[in-house]
Symmetry: C2
Subunit: 113 residues, 2 copies
């Protein structure tokens, strides 16, 4: 019936949700912002804006540039970027597990009416 979608609100700084996390994962997988963005059908500019937003929210850089600069060269996650991705996914798994029973019960309650 339902999928759970999680956002971490860091008011007033901003929101970190599944979209930004998936972008970081894609950048890490493909080794550059441009390739990671392409894989997500996202413009380089959009991807870069999202990365900058994360940097601002966390007050630390989530990517480190490699040879050739950000555009031409590669990029990889910093320890902060890695921590963010793995903690977000862990919270997601924990929340899904915790919600599973309630979602099933809600579905049954709605069906019964």
């Amino acid at each position: 019936m339902a999928a759970l979608s999680l956002r971490i609100d860091l008011e007033p700084e901003g929101r970190i949700g599944p979209g930004k996390i998936a972008l970081l994962e894609s950048i890490a997988t493909y080794g550059s912002i441009s390739a990671g963005a392409r894989e997500m059908n996202m413009s380089y500019k959009r991807a870069w804006d999202l990365v900058e937003e994360l940097n601002t929210i966390l007050g630390k850089e989530v990517l480190s540039a490699q040879k050739g600069g950000r555009h031409g060269g590669g990029a990889q996650l910093t320890p902060v970027g890695l921590a963010l991705v793995s903690r977000f996914r862990a919270i997601e798994r924990a929340a899904h597990a915790a919600a599973e029973t309630h979602l099933a019960a809600l579905q049954a309650e709605i069906a019964a009416r």
Copy 2:
């Protein structure tokens, strides 16, 4: 550091998030759509649209009208509306509890870098 914001995706039907749930709670508390909407600084039309969206998503009515019709009279939650609100809040509590340790760890990891 962070508050967790939860959404239940019922693709392709729609999303149920904290805003719609708070509106239902407000309607239940004040006993009518207009009073519940006012308390949330929301127009009657906006509130009614959100209620209709919930009805469509669930395929069941979340409110029942009382004497005087929907506009003039009162409104209360149906059993489906009540189940939705209480399950959503329960999922939220469970997810927050599950996430607490990870959020604290993430905060420490970011601060340490």
